[in-house]
Amino acid sequence: MLFYIFAAVAVLSGAYMVLTRNLLYAGFSLLLTLLSIAAIYVLLFADFVAVTQLMVYVGGVLVLILFGIMLSSRVHDKSVMSENTNVGWGISISLLTLIGLSYTIWQAGFSSLPWIQQADTNVLGGQKSTVHLIGIKLMTDFVLPFEIASLLLLIALMGAAYIATDKEKV
């Protein structure tokens, strides 16, 4: 039951993000969507992913987006509002996507797949959290993606700092 409440909050605030024309309202409704997705992660037994979602998205990406809104629009005149374009095409394409995805999910019958039905009970297997297993996995099976991810973050940090600096003044 808790899942449906959070799902409704996520979808409604996401829809409000699209419907509103004020950029700051859109940012804060995206915050609500990300928070309820983190709550759904907890309900899906993924506690570490939920905490990572909170820290990276809500603490990092959303603050960056709010910075971007503040720095890329003059708040005093009307440009904190954003206009819409291609409304007819957008609504028709996204409705077709939604219908197609829903029909595919409904037709595919994922719940009757054998490997899902076998593993459906006793999900956590007696352990309390997934942090221990994720730590072991990161240092054994996923050590190469982990290192590449650290390199990617370093490159992204340097690139963002280089792009955002004002080259005439430096």
């Binding site: 996520a10 993000m17 699209v18 993924a46 957008g90 999910i105 719940s111 994720i134 940090l157 955002a164």
Partner: protein, 104 residues
Amino acid sequence: MFTQIPLEHILLLSAALFTIGILAVITKRHAVVVLMGIELIFNAASLNLVAFSRHDPTLLQGQMFSLFVILVAAAEAAVALAIVLRVYQHFKTANLNQITSKEV
């Protein structure tokens, strides 16, 4: 014990979020709102990964994938917002339609 959430309902929620993200990317003119739509699409994909990871006997491959998705999304957001700021400084607007139609 918890009652299991049906897998289809999570997938439908993810499809709805994906659709909202696509709608934001297509219809909005401000570049930052387009980025917010892209973040919503990332979240929908990683919700799918976590939903299937619940049924994984070793339990963790989908969650590891969604961790890396979150990480790449963070790097993407940093670089993209830096580009948006540069574009705003250069063109004095962040409206995508005006950017494509203006001389450099």
